[in-house]
């Protein structure tokens, strides 16, 4: 279980997270939605230990990771898989080398076993014949799928997805979402996804949390969030452009 308590973060004079409280249950798909620039990626970076909060805590199965450094933090990260917004594939390596990289660097598996595992993962994401290609030679959707294969190759307990479908066409968005659900069903990892793909994410999420101006304004199952009376949530879901009056916020 991931427990986030009173998480605050500011950059210079700009507050980005203003007291986040959120629990993410083991094995669920939690999707954090919210407007661009609302702090979703900043929240995710705190969960994976790339940013340290000004105050507040993030605990993974009781271990407070905000206080950890070096080897201790690496031990927690060894349980993670992360799919970055742009894929973050190493462009000096082929697709197969990218997927093999975490195993080659951190596991004691033999070459043959690593190759087998990489082929299996590439097959699961539908890219079994793309291993020899360079990341620059494949499409955006394929790059996202390679990033998912790389994140899952170590069989992590928790997988973070930072806007995994940004910039893709609607068919590819659904393809990636179905792939995530299928892999989640198979491996039962805890998934934390940051997205603003409305309404598609309501189909795949176990729970949805809406982040607005640095605080969680709504959290619950997709149908409950959809039915929320909170005007900010409704405005975001409907994509309305008019501003919500300050008095009606939260």
């Amino acid at each position: 279980m991931i427990r986030i308590q009173r998480l605050h973060k500011r950059f210079g004079r700009q507050p980005v997270l203003r007291g986040i409280d959120l629990d993410i249950a083991t094995g669920e798909i939690m999707v954090v939605i919210g407007r661009s620039g609302g702090g979703k990626s900043v929240l995710l970076k705190h969960l994976i230990g790339l940013l340290r909060p000004d105050s507040g805590t993030v605990a993974v199965d009781g271990t407070e990771i905000t206080r950890l450094r070096g080897g201790e933090l690496d031990r927690v990260r060894a349980r993670y898989g992360v799919v970055f917004q742009g894929g973050a594939l190493f462009d000096s390596m082929s697709v197969a080398e990218n997927v093999a990289f975490p195993l080659r660097e951190k596991s004691r598996l033999r070459h043959a076993e690593i190759r087998e595992r990489v082929e299996e993962k590439l097959e699961q994401v539908g890219l079994s014949d793309m291993g020899h290609k360079n990341p620059a030679e494949i499409s955006g959707g394929m790059r996202k799928r390679v990033a998912i294969a790389r994140a899952l190759v170590t069989e992590p307990e928790i997988v973070f997805f930072d806007e995994p479908t940004t910039g893709l066409d609607p068919i590819l968005v659904n393809t990636i979402h179905h792939l995530i659900v299928e892999l989640h069903r198979k491996f039962r990892f805890t998934a934390v996804m940051v997205s603003h793909e409305i309404p598609e994410i309501f189909e795949i999420a176990d729970r949805v949390a809406m982040l607005h101006e640095g605080v969680i304004v709504e959290v619950g199952p997709p149908e409950a969030v959809r039915a929320s009376t909170n005007p900010i949530v409704q405005q975001f879901i409907r994509g309305d452009v008019e501003m919500v009056p300050a008095g009606q916020r939260r």
């Binding site: 970076k45 790339l50 990260r77 993670y80 992360v82 970055f84 973050a88 975490p102 951190k106």
Partner: protein, 268 residues
Amino acid sequence: MFSSPTPELWPAPLRPIAALGGLTLDLVSALGRFGRFFGQAVGYVVIPPFKIVRLIDRIHFIGFRSLTIVILTGAFTGMVLGLQIFLTLSRFGSEAYLGPAVALSLIRELGPVLCAVFVTGLAGSALTAEIGIMKITEQIDALQVMALNPMRYLVSPALVAGVITFPLLTAIFDVVGILGGYLVGVELLGLSPGTYFGEMKTFVNMSDLMTGYWKAISFGIIVPWVCTYKGFNCGHGAEGVARATTQAVVLTSILILVWDYFLGSVLP
């Protein structure tokens, strides 16, 4: 951590002093970060696990890929030296000293400095750009969340590769330069080959070679240190990478000349 005072909050007469104080604090803070970066990189050179494959890749990246430019520039530097020194010495009737003059200029001074400047332009700028792009495309974050230390993976191997390759590249630059001087002095201007090389043996000694060697090693540290630091601390987007690359080349070139003067003063 230092924080700069905000001059606008001070009474008007004190603002220039506050601004100067802020600038000084920023400078000291930046130097501290620069030094700490080096300390960490050196730490990962001696603390296992060592990234041998990565080190070989960096030796190829810095050393082998710079070979053509080093040979080319070395040859023409030697030829220019041969021509200019011959013309100067001929005024005093001392053409016989062309060999040692070319060799000493190259081995003690021009070899290490020019070689380091050219390698900075070629491999140093590429190091900064590569790491900068890795930073803005979250590849460095990806390394971190895979529990791989980016310093150990990206900086320390480059530092060791610099220490290994720079003396070798400098030696190649020196040899090719001396042959370039030979080509002009002996083949074009008619000096005897025995005089060119014979006088060299008399005047060039081990301390000259060691001066060049120590300079090359120190430049082999400075170039990857500055260039990887600038890559790690680049700004956002393509503009940030471009600015970091320019700054890396300019700063490294200045540091090479300053350090060369310092070493030239203290080494025998």
